[in-house]
């Protein structure tokens, strides 16, 4: 097994800051926008983005929630093992809002497709955008692209991209694992 660090330390932090500033360009004070982290690992990135935005807009109160897509996935009963659901917490209606979906890694795009289905239960958003820390290029199964991208990497199917977080894994970093 070989590992390659794609992002760590100050670069990681700078990337998050850049993503926040790109968001601000399109969303001003976020009064008409909501941020949704996708379960399970997208919520760490969403929290980090929210914390960073809070530093920039100390008085703001950005609507945010977490979205679980388990029941909307298309591989139910096609995999070994159960797709175990996590919780969804969206205590507002997204009707007419600009929704920013956040996930750590964009790979096949199937999770995001499910997320767009899952969103329907909370109203008709004005617009849906996608923010991801890592975009694994040229590996999409569905025509989905991110609006805000931390880093782009070229990978092959057998490789794995792992995003670690200070909160849970002790360190902020993105690593590429080969020969798993």
């Amino acid at each position: 097994m070989q590992t390659l660090k794609l992002l760590d330390g100050s670069k990681f932090q700078i990337t998050i800051q850049r993503l926040c500033h790109q968001l601000i360009e399109n969303h001003n004070d976020f009064s008409e926008s909501v941020i949704l982290g996708i379960q399970p690992r997208g919520i760490y990135l969403a929290n980090r983005i929210l914390a960073q935005l809070k530093l920039i807009f100390p008085k703001s109160n950005i609507k945010n929630g977490i979205l679980d897509v388990t029941f909307f996935r298309d591989d139910f009963r096609r995999k070994e093992g159960i797709l175990f659901p996590s919780s969804t917490q969206i205590d507002f209606i997204i009707e007419g809002k600009k929704v920013i979906l956040i996930d750590d890694v964009l790979w096949t795009g199937r999770t995001i497709r499910s997320a767009m289905d899952a969103l329907q239960a909370f109203g008709r958003p004005d617009k849906v955008e996608l923010l991801t820390l890592v975009d694994r290029r040229y590996s999409r199964h569905v025509p989905i692209e991110a609006n805000y991208i931390g880093i782009k990497v070229d990978t092959i199917n057998s490789q794995k991209v792992k995003v670690s977080w200070k909160e849970t894994d002790g360190e902020d970093q993105v690593i590429l694992i080969s020969g798993v």
Binding site: P40, D68, T70, F71, F72, F76, R77, R78, K79, G81, I82, L83, F84, P85, S86, S87, T88, I93, D117, Q120, A121, F122, G123
Partner: protein, 312 residues
């Protein structure tokens, strides 16, 4: 968070007896997520869109049947309904023939209620589809026990260590047996209360206390689960009159106020108002009867969702 490898230990849901503690925990945890789903503006998820479920009811039912049907629809499954009274069963068709004919129409799961104990187990040995027992005679009613456990957990945070009194017609009740098994597995203390004639002789073997005095039972418990007097199953007289039963074992406001703590009142339905429970108690703040019905849909969605995974 539960890991992705978790699954049930069984292909069918025939009774609580066959379930492990882990199975019960998994169902209750999953049900929490479905309760969340059914409280959204759009209450439907597409998980079971490629599954067909037959609801086969050889006995009358309102709650269980509607609850299963709603759970199936909320999961986007296709459903067909079958009631024995309006079918070829009355022309003499056997159980296996009836079910096999239904399965020939490519049905994946069967939800069955039957007046004979063990009907689900019997069927599971002879047909390929997955069976969910929706009540078999006086034997088991597993989804009711699961939703009762879910409701108790929702109210108190956990089931372990809680004292639950099951009061009334224990002898004829499938709810009682499933509840005892489920609550004991989850670590609760269980007591059964009723007239001697309506308490099975060897029920102590299940590890439950037996009490014949309603007031003592109520003073002991945190939760009183009142059972319906099942007149349709009583071929002989088990007590002199309904009036006498209700005087001795009926739960009314007066007796509920006379105990010095606030207990939770449950009832699996249908209620015989004025017999085992009076209207003012059934509709009081202490009663969680309608919460039970709401939770029933979520718990059944969890059962169907988890079992559908087993067939892949």
């Amino acid at each position: 968070m539960a890991n992705q490898e978790q699954r049930l230990s069984t292909k069918h849901l025939l009774g609580i007896k066959e379930l492990t503690i882990h199975d019960i925990e998994l169902i209750l945890e999953t049900a929490k997520n479905f309760k969340d789903v059914i409280n959204r503006p759009i209450k439907k998820v597409p998980s079971l869109r490629d599954i067909t479920i037959a609801n086969i009811f050889f006995e009358n039912s309102t709650r269980t049947k509607l609850s299963f049907e709603l759970a199936e629809k909320r999961l986007s499954a296709d459903t067909i309904n079958f009631a024995a009274s309006s079918s070829s069963v009355s022309k003499g068709e056997t159980l296996i023939d009836t079910v096999n004919n239904i399965l020939a129409m490519k049905v994946d799961m069967v939800v069955m209620r039957h007046p004979y104990a063990g009907a689900g187990v019997f069927l599971s040995k002879h047909i390929k589809a997955q069976i969910i027992n929706a009540g078999d005679g006086a034997h088991e009613h597993p989804t009711q026990a699961l939703l009762d456990a879910f409701s108790i957990r929702e109210k108190f945070g956990e089931v372990a260590g809680k004292k639950i009194a099951i009061i009334g017609d224990v002898l004829h009740s499938r709810v009682a047996l499933s509840n005892i098994l489920c609550l004991k597995k989850l670590g609760a203390e269980v007591l059964v209360c009723g007239p001697t004639t309506l308490i099975p002789k060897y029920i102590g073997a299940l590890g439950v206390k037996v009490e014949h005095d309603l007031l003592k039972a109520l003073n002991w418990c945190d939760v009183a689960n009142m059972l319906r007097i099942q007149l349709e199953r009583q071929e002989t007289k088990f007590f002199p009159s309904l009036r006498e039963y209700s005087m001795n074992y009926g739960l009314n406001k007066q007796i509920l106020d006379s105990i010095d703590k606030e207990i939770i009142v449950m009832h699996p339905g249908p209620i015989n108002r004025g017999v085992e429970i009076t209207s003012d108690v059934a509709d009081s703040k202490q009663s969680i009867i309608l919460n039970q019905v709401e939770n029933g849909v979520a718990v059944r969605m969890a059962v169907l969702y988890l079992l559908a995974n087993q067939s892949s």
